[in-house]
């Protein structure tokens, strides 16, 4: 609201500034903790991954099994993004614009995949869609099972990014469009959707990053069949367990870079969206 007031601390005499903002001690402690817990471990992956030079890195990261795992991971994550874009927006729309009995319960349930341990998520899907399920579909040890697990854990991302934007959205334009004879679909596409786009994009980007790295929800339902249902994280796990930390690190480094790029991309989308708002 008053960005100048926040920045005023910069122009204060040093003695006052010390008490105002964080003492340098706070920043120092926070950065040290961050280094010990996050940065040094990640540096270890980078060092191990490129230990034998780039040539060697590609040889290790680009073997047929790793390639199959990466291909499957990207393909399934791509489908996850498309499905979530549609269902997430539909769910957000239902929660904001519709009213029905039990809406607040549905709203709270959306966060369940965030709160539920991933291994439990995988087990619940197996209970219903596994060999002993009651609906007569068995997707255990198939790629469809992997897809179902990833859809479960990524469900909240798009809903939770789109929902607040939809709440804030002024309905005047839509009413004007309707009075001019636009269909509901037409007014959604040309009025609502452009406003939702930045939120939708950050939602699917976060869902994509999550899908690329998911492990717990997939491990039981996929059966870890190499070349068939083995996703990237399972490949890394299996490489490490068979005593090849370098092979594991090569693919892990690739996944690390992808996650970081997605986060930088989401940050970029947010800055772009706030600039357009003004």
């Amino acid at each position: 609201m008053f960005p100048l007031a926040v920045d005023a601390a910069r122009f204060l005499p040093t003695a006052r500034r010390r008490a105002v903002g964080a003492p340098a001690l706070a920043s120092g402690l926070a950065l040290t903790y961050l280094s010990v817990i996050v940065l040094i471990p990640l540096a270890a992956i980078a060092a191990e991954g490129v230990q034998g030079g780039w040539q060697h890195f590609w040889e290790v990261a680009w073997n047929p099994e790793a390639r199959a795992a990466l291909k499957l991971t990207f393909a399934v994550s791509g489908i996850v993004v498309l499905v979530n874009a549609v269902t997430g927006t539909a769910l957000a729309w239902t929660l904001v614009r519709d009213s029905f009995a039990g809406k607040s319960i549905v709203n709270a349930l959306i966060d369940l995949p965030f709160a539920l341990p991933t291994i439990v998520a995988g087990l619940t899907l197996l209970a219903l869609y596994g060999p002993t399920g009651i609906v007569g579909v068995d997707i255990a040890f198939t790629r469809l099972g992997v897809l179902a697990a990833l859809l479960f854990v990524t469900l909240p991302f798009v809903v939770r990014t789109v929902q607040p934007v939809l709440i804030e959205l002024d309905r005047e334009q839509e009413e004007a469009a309707a009075s001019l004879g636009a269909s509901r679909f037409h007014s959604f596409r040309s009025i609502v959707l452009p406003h939702l786009l930045p939120a939708l994009l950050s939602g699917v980007a976060l869902a994509f990053a999550r899908a690329i790295g998911e492990f717990g929800a997939v491990i039981l339902i996929s059966g870890n069949l190499p070349f068939k249902t083995e996703v990237a994280s399972l490949y890394v796990f299996q490489r490490l367990n068979s005593g090849d930390p370098q092979g594991a690190s090569a693919l892990a480094l690739l996944m690390l870079v992808i996650s970081f790029l997605v986060l930088l991309g989401v940050g970029g989308i947010r800055r772009w969206a706030t600039r357009h708002d003004r």
Binding site: A9, P23, A26, A90, L112, L123, L155, S233, L240, S249
Partner: protein
């Protein structure tokens, strides 16, 4: 009007198929043969040990990450040093990174040939395949939640009151205790709930570093996996119901806190 209802029923059907029906079925399966078998499955020694280890790790992790979350939030918002944008992205990384990659990173550091592992081993200190490794993995995975909740609130309250306190001679600590903390307390509480849920449910990173020895280094999520793979479905479902119950409790707390935050 038909279109409106198509969106409603379509999206709710999706939610039911992918989320609600599977979770309900796990509860049904756990109690299918009455509370007796459920209780037996929960009270066997390996399950009890796994639950205790999970709670122990959570009790260490949550206070550490809460303290860090508050400090880091203040550092990001109030302390303008170059590179804070990068710090911001790094804090978010555990949200987007595969837990297996996290586990692997700790393995490379604390394994016997690792950067620190050899040194620590020579001094009789085990990290990998022991509780410290599980704690480190959980610290990494649950790091962002308090920071993410605290940062927007700190931005919104601005520095006016803190400046006023400072000009009146309050020390930095007094300013924090009397002005800053009361303003962010709901955000901190919310972050603590999310951190706790994440700690209780962590699986991937812990799987890599703990070794998963039943009765020794097995947390509750690993107990679920081990039971299922040993064809002990009742045990797997019972432990899952316990974890799912904690998750639902988390959701309830979050809903209550949102209301509390709005009314304050």
């Amino acid at each position: 009007m038909i279109g409106k209802h198509a969106v409603r029923y379509g999206s709710l059907l999706y939610l039911a198929a992918i989320l609600i029906a599977p979770v309900v079925l796990v509860f049904y399966r756990a109690f299918e043969h009455g509370p007796g078998p459920f209780w037996d499955a929960i009270s066997n020694p390996a399950a009890v040990h796994a639950l205790r280890l999970t709670l122990y790790v959570t009790l260490i992790t949550v206070p550490l990450n809460t303290a860090f979350g508050i400090l880091c939030g203040i550092a990001i918002v109030r302390h303008r040093i170059p590179g804070m944008g990068l710090v911001n992205a790094i804090v978010d990384l555990p949200l987007a990174l595969s837990p297996v990659v996290v586990g692997l990173a700790l393995y490379l550091l604390y394994g016997n040939d690792g950067w620190f592992g050899g040194f620590l081993h020579d001094h009789g200190f085990r990290v990998l395949f022991a509780t410290p490794g599980i704690v480190l993995a959980t610290l990494f995975i649950s790091l962002p939640f308090v920071v993410r909740e605290v940062v927007p609130v700190l931005r919104e309250i601005g520095t006016d009151q803190e400046e006023a306190a400072a000009t009146l001679g309050a020390s930095a600590f007094t300013t924090f205790r009397r002005i800053t903390f009361p303003a962010i307390r709901w955000a901190v509480a919310y972050g603590v709930v999310l951190t706790t849920a994440r700690c209780l449910g962590e699986f991937g990173a812990v799987s890599v570093v703990s070794g998963g020895l039943a009765g020794r280094t097995q947390v509750l999520t690993q107990y679920v996996q081990a039971s299922y793979e040993n064809f002990d479905q009742t045990g797997a479902y019972a432990a899952s119901v316990l974890l799912a119950g904690l998750a639902i409790l988390t959701l309830l707390l979050m809903t209550v806190m949102k209301r509390g935050d709005r009314s304050s």
